[in-house]
Amino acid sequence: MTTPNPLLQVRDLRVQIGDRNILKSVSLDVPAGSLVVLMGANGSGKSTLGLTLAGHPQYHVTSGQVVLDGQDLLAMNAHERARAGLFVSFQSPPDIPGVKNNLFIRSALNAVREARGQEPLDAFDFLASARTAAQQLGLPEAMLARPVNEGFSGGERKRNELLQLALLQPRLAFLDEIDSGMDVDGVRAVVQLVHQLRAKGTALVVISHYLHLIESLEPDTVLRLDQGCIAETGGLELARSIAQTGFARSPELAEA
């Protein structure tokens, strides 16, 4: 798919972990305000794409280009990519023992604000906006005072990712199974936040296995990844057909 001046432009991206080729050639455009759903069997390379965009040190790009908002993403360090407006949610966000969540998120937010030329928020202003965001997402305020993800359940960790997403307001958000482990209210919060962000022009790439969530997100594009390549491109009908028949597709479709 090609759009003039898309926010994210991925061209022939090839990625290795150690000696294994995980992404063989991925090209994709994501315009501002649009939403792409990424589907595919386990091990097809979906998470690899997110972690590669984020700059994970174990993922080695062997060739290809990635441009975010006109900037060469692959030339930047991981924290510079985040400051350029990239947010990648983690499937299993790690804990950071002893570091209070509000200090962690404020440090992140102020780093990003500084890169945007905005004034840093002090602890009071930050807390006010963090409380509002937590309330809107249906998160207990106490979560802000707890150490980052320490002792959090899987669902709570995912909600904490959502809170950071809401506060950081990225240009591009890559959400990796953010709905897994979440209860019904959590999933509803995801949908609500995604719509809000999209209305402000944030582009989204969402990995999910659940048709119900995918339908609620109203994607512009649905992609199926297979063995490190984009095997199929379509709309909601592709997601519905995968939900019905699974990932075992015929070989000729995989070439599409």
Partner: protein, 485 residues
Amino acid sequence: MPSPTEQAAPLVQALERPYQHGFVTDIESDALPPGLDEDTVRAISLRKREPDFLLQWRLAAFKRWQAMEPPAWGRLQVDAIDFQALCYYSAPKSLKDGPKSLAEVDPKLLETYEKLGVPLHERARLAGVAVDAVFDSVSVGTTFREQLSKVGVVFCSFSHAVEHYPELIERYMGSVVPVGDNYYAALNSAVFSDGSFVYIPKGVRCPMELSSYFRINAKGTGQFERTLIIAEEGSHVSYLEGCTAPQRDEHQLHAAVVELVAHDDAYIKYSTVQNWYPGDEQGRGGIYNFVTKRGLCAGQRSHIAWTQIETGSAITWKYPSVVLRGDDSRGEFHSIAVSNHYQQADTGTKMIHLGRNTKSRIVSKGISAGHAHNSYRGLVRIAPTAQGAHNHTQCDSLLIGRDCGAHTFPYIDTARSDALVEHEATTTRISEERLFYCQQRGIDPQEATALIVGGFCQAVLEELPMEFALEAKALLAVSLEGAVG
């Protein structure tokens, strides 16, 4: 894509930031010539116009020291110290007769303390912290002395106490750390020149934080200070010491003794932020910090808590300890020891349970980076008399990089079957996953390391007086910048 090592490049630069307190104050000093014999001991005592009991005490200590060998059991590589090459007494000349007030203190000295962030005059008043500052061998001034004396609290230099409260000195000095306790304590007892003295009368809650600041300035000088804190029945005091030294190529010796005595229901909290010059990246120079600190919970329900942040020194050898003699007394030790480059730290505590229902708690956080080695060495002893004694030890090590080491030597010696002694230990690295998580949210590796280390140390930082917790956090960040790669 940049490798993790390249990503850490800004850190490496920051790590190479020079020691910030390494300046030398150009001041005339009145010093004894280098060398150590009985005459040196007599000369120090004479210069300080000490009473005879103190001279005799020093001489006895010197005799003991001559017959002792330096301890070799630490996991440390110590260059032999030439005790004859050291100078044992150095005083800024203008203080020869002792300052009557801060107004008489040489402005250059006040400037030194300003540079160190230890204001001895107006700003200290605003901060509400009473400060005693020790420069090389003498105390240069104690703030708030008058205000404290209104509630009966004595806070002054050791020399002042020898002159004005000799009976307290004679009664308590050496009662917790005897002259022959160990090699460096014996040496200190023979040649100590000054230090701080605190006396809190019965039932008094000290109205402000008390603080001492130690500074080694003169070249080739050892620093041997003593601190004695006496808390009478039901009293309460919080005391903090800070230390810095100029940057010099040779090793300098700091051998201090600290004694604490807590009577019935008294509470002493003793915090240290130790930032002596650690030596350069190749391990040249730096302070040898060989210190004996011990508290005696003499009374029932007395309580002594040590908190230490050890970031400086080429070698740290110290084991702040508590002797729990009073029934129901409590001892605590909270420690953060950071070693980077070629620093060595062998530090920990001893909790000696003698009384019934005595409780002790040990929290040790060791952080090693570069080529540094960090050892926790602790002893928990439960005596036959210590019915119902309880100790909990938590000992965590954090490694940054591949060339450093963490070592744990917990000794447990219990004579009772009803004692409850618990020991938990962990060793972790700064995980790539946590670092990457921070980076993905926009936090650079340097700040991420500071955050993660701060979190690792949080349980100990919480024990510090509020005024110093921030300073300690900043110090930790500076000590470890660039250690990730």
